[in-house]
C-alpha cells in the first residue's frame, strides 16, 4: 500500500501553484492537509503526475471575518478554525459541526478548503457551506470566480472546479440572528456521517441541510412549520434525496434519520433562537 510515483512541488505562491495546474491540468493535484488525499494515493486510487503542496503559501493561511462573511483561506487547517476566537459569532453552525469532522489528529492537519474540494457527500463542512449559502473562491492562472455553494457541488466527489483551478478560499455569510443546530449520526465517534443535519431557523423559515444521503449535501428551505406539517415536509425531503444502501446503513434507515433527526435538529435550532 504505497503511492505510485509523482513529482512534488512545494509552491511558494498562489501563482506558482496555479502555473503548475495550468500546465498539467488533470495530471496535477493540490495537496493540502492530505487527510483524504493521502489515503487515496496510498491505495493507488489516485495517480497524479505531480502534487502541488500549498501549505507553505502564506497568503493562503488567512482567516478573517469581514463584510458580512467569514473567509477562510486554503491554508487554514480545521483545528485552527475550531480554535478561532471569531468562530462562535462568525459561524455558530460550524462551531457545532466541526467537532464531528474526524478527530483531533485529522483536524490538526486537514484544511477547511480541502474538505470542500474533496466534496464527500457525508462531510460536515460541505454541508455547512451549502446550508449557510456560502461561496467558493476559485482561481486559475487565467481568472478568478466566485461560485455559490449550491452550484459548486455536482455529485459524489464532483465539483464545478475545473482542473486548472484551485480553491483559494471559502466564505460563509455571518449569522443574522438565526437559531442554529447540528446533529449527526455516525457508526462511531469521528466517522463520516450516515446522516448529518444542519438547521437554521429564522423568522423567514427553516433551512435544513442534509448530508450523507444524496450524492452531495443538500439544503432546502421549509416554511416555519410544526407538527405533522413539518413531518410531511421532512418525509418529502427524505424520499427526494434518493438514499442508497451501503455496508453501514440501509436506504430506509437514512430516510428514517432524515425524518427523525431532521426534526430534532430543527427543534433544537428553534430553541437555540428562543
Amino acid at each position: 500500500m504505497k503511492p505510485a510515483a509523482f513529482d512534488y512541488v512545494r509552491a511558494e505562491s498562489v501563482a506558482e501553484a496555479l502555473a503548475v495546474l495550468g500546465q498539467e491540468g488533470s495530471d496535477a493535484r493540490i495537496l493540502a492537509g492530505g487527510m483524504s488525499f493521502m489515503a487515496m494515493l496510498n491505495m493507488r486510487l489516485a495517480r497524479p503526475k505531480v502534487l502541488v503542496d500549498i501549505m507553505r503559501v502564506e497568503p493562503l493561511a488567512r482567516l478573517e471575518v469581514g463584510k458580512g462573511a467569514l473567509k477562510i483561506g486554503a491554508g487554514v487547517r480545521q483545528a485552527r478554525l475550531l480554535a478561532f476566537d471569531g468562530l462562535e459569532s462568525g459561524a455558530p453552525l460550524i462551531a457545532k459541526a466541526l467537532p464531528f469532522t474526524g478527530h483531533a489528529q485529522t483536524r490538526s492537519r486537514g484544511t477547511v478548503c480541502g474538505s470542500i474540494a474533496h466534496a464527500d457527500p457525508s462531510a460536515e463542512l460541505p454541508l455547512c457551506l451549502v446550508t449557510l449559502r456560502g461561496h467558493v473562491h476559485l482561481k486559475s492562472a487565467r481568472a478568478g470566480r466566485k461560485v455559490a455553494a449550491e452550484d459548486f457541488f455536482t455529485g459524489m466527489m464532483a465539483t464545478a472546479k475545473a482542473d486548472d483551478e484551485m480553491i483559494e478560499a471559502v466564505s460563509f455569510p455571518t449569522p443574522k440572528g438565526e437559531g442554529t443546530a447540528f446533529r449527526e449520526i455516525a457508526r462511531r465517534h469521528g466517522d463520516f456521517a450516515i446522516v448529518a443535519c444542519a438547521a437554521l431557523v429564522s423568522d423567514n423559515g427553516i433551512r435544513l441541510g442534509v448530508g450523507g444521503v444524496a450524492d452531495m449535501p443538500v439544503a432546502r428551505d421549509i416554511p416555519l412549520l410544526d407538527g405533522s406539517a413539518l413531518d410531511d415536509a421532512l418525509n418529502a425531503l427524505a424520499w427526494e434525496l434518493d438514499a442508497r444502501d451501503d455496508v453501514h446503513a440501509s436506504a430506509r434507515y437514512r430516510r428514517e434519520l432524515v425524518r427523525r433527526i431532521g426534526r430534532s435538529t430543527i427543534e433544537e435550532a428553534k430553541r437555540c433562537r428562543a
Partner: protein
Amino acid sequence: MPRLSADARHTVRFILNGREVKGQASPRTLLSDFLRHQIGATGTHVGCEHGVCGACTVDVDGMLTRACMTLAVQVEGCAVRTVEGLAPAPDRLSVLQAAFRRHHALQCGFCTAGILMSLDVFLKAVPDPDEEAVRDLLSGHLCRCTGYTPIVRAALEAAAELREVQGETTHA
C-alpha cells in the same frame, strides 16, 4: 519553486527530537517509512496507512500528524517529535510514560507511541481535561489490547501530576 522529480531521491533535512537530521527520500516516500527505515526511528509504528489507526501519529511543528498520511518531503525544515523524544533521559520515563506503566495502559505496545504523542501534545494545550475530553482525543487511535480504560486512567493521572509539577515551578 522547488519541483522534486519522481525519479530521484532528494535530501530532506529536519529537526527530530531537537536534533538536526537528514535523509534521502523520493517524493512518494511516506514520512512513516522515512522515519523508520531511513532515519532509524522505529518507535513510530504503522498499522493501517490510511489514517485511521493512529499508530503512526507524530508531532510536526506542534501539530498532531499521521506520518502515514504525510510525505517525507513535506517535513523539510520542520520540527518533528516522536516517541523517542519523550523521555527526559535514556534510562528514565516521562510523567506520562510512567503513568502508562503504572496503569498497565499498554499490552502489546504497538499502538502506544501514537497515543503517547497525542496525549503529549494534548495535555500541553488542555492541562486539566475531563475523562470525556481524553476519550474524545483517544478516539483518533485504535488499541486492540487494553479496552482503553487503563489508558484513560493513566492520562488523567499524568495530567494531574503534570499540573502539580507545573504549579510548583510557577510558584517557585
